[in-house]
């Protein structure tokens, strides 16, 4: 049996403790900030500032992560095994100090996909109920 870490999510916080073989669905629902971070890391390694900028851009400014929220969430995701460090290097675009990069693990990718499916199902339900996708009269 593969040993992985688990996260318990309560009111926007993720607590960590070691357990074995927990399916991705049991991590859901993810707090919005956590899902945004996983989404930002879905296709590339990023450093903290790039994650922050990506989240702000993707959410059209509605989700703004400060350093404390960002690194607090990253710490929990690292401990839970959803994210791993990808080493330190300078950002070629910024060309300044070396920064720590983060990337998604296989488990992190599975959890992000599970959360995306959950949200997709909710959006489809909302559409069936005509809460979205119809022009107001």
């Amino acid at each position: 049996m593969i040993t992985i870490s688990t996260i318990d999510i309560q009111e926007g916080a993720i607590g960590t403790k070691r357990q074995t073989g927990r399916p991705p669905e049991t991590y859901l629902p993810l707090p919005p900030a956590t899902f945004h971070i996983l989404l930002a890391l879905a296709d590339e390694e990023l450093h903290g500032y790039a994650i922050m900028k990506g989240v702000a851009a993707r959410s059209e400014g509605t989700v703004r992560l400060g350093p404390g929220t960002l690194y607090g969430t990253l710490k929990r995701l690292l401990e839970a095994g959803l994210v791993e460090e990808g080493g330190e290097r300078a950002d070629p675009e910024r060309g300044d100090e070396r920064r720590r990069y983060y990337r998604l693990t296989q488990l992190g990718l599975c959890v992000a996909r599970a959360e995306a499916r959950r949200l997709d199902a909710m959006v489809r339900a909302a559409r069936r109920k005509k809460l979205i996708g119809v022009r107001p009269a």
């Binding site: 916080a13 607590g15 403790k17 070691r18 903290g48 500032y49 922050m52 703004r64 400060g66 350093p67 404390g68 929220t69 960002l70 690194y71 607090g72 990253l74 710490k75 929990r76 910024r94 100090e97 920064r99 720590r100």
Partner: protein, 198 residues
């Protein structure tokens, strides 16, 4: 005072372990924010302080919980070691005590029930020794054997006490007090540990 120095002071709200790991990265990120925002505005500092207020208490609580968990584990390990030593010492002292009682009794006329109670006392001590050895074998089966041996020792010494009511205080402490203390030590930490570590 520069914005970065003020932020450095605000970072003290975070637990030391978290600061040691992420302070440099957070300051770098704050520096980036300062480059792209006007640090003289009220809104900028409301957002900065709001971020600290939202994130620091939760991280403090997590750090406190982690410490509490480590302490529980440490207490558990100490209790297990103490239990092992107590059992082994209890077994040895119990057998020696029974031998002393046997020698003292043999100088007078010794009754049958007295003989039986001393033999039961030796048996109880041997069971304590067996429990001590079983605990050294740190498996679940070892723990079960240890529990059974301690319970058997307790029952045996109670029977000995009922057969011969003039047992010494030392015999009673070693024979009854130790198994009871050990039963508590073997059961209670097992439930209290968040990891269920043996």
């Amino acid at each position: 005072m520069s914005a970065e120095r003020i932020y450095g002071l605000l970072l003290r709200a975070y637990p030391p372990e978290f600061r040691a790991e992420y302070e440099r990265e957070m300051v770098l990120l704050f520096r980036d924010q300062c480059r792209e925002s006007d640090v003289r505005t009220f809104g900028f500092w409301v957002a900065v302080i709001g971020d600290v207020v939202r994130s620091a208490p939760a991280l403090r609580v997590e750090a406190w919980r982690a410490h509490a968990s480590e302490n529980t584990q440490t207490v558990e390990v100490i209790m297990k070691l103490a239990a092992m030593l107590t059992l082994l010492l209890g077994g040895v002292i119990g057998i020696l005590n029974a031998a002393v009682e046997w020698v003292a009794a043999s100088q007078q006329s010794i009754s049958g029930t007295h003989e039986v109670s001393i033999v039961l006392g030796v048996l109880a001590s041997a069971l304590l020794l067996a429990a001590g050895v079983a605990i050294v074998n740190r498996t679940q089966r070892g723990r079960q054997v240890a529990r059974l041996a301690v319970i058997a020792s307790l029952v045996t010494i109670v029977i000995a006490r009922l057969l011969f009511p003039w047992m010494s205080v030392l015999s009673q402490l070693v024979g009854i007090g130790l198994p009871v203390a050990l039963l508590i030590a073997l059961y209670w930490p097992q439930r209290a540990s968040p990891l269920g570590a043996a």
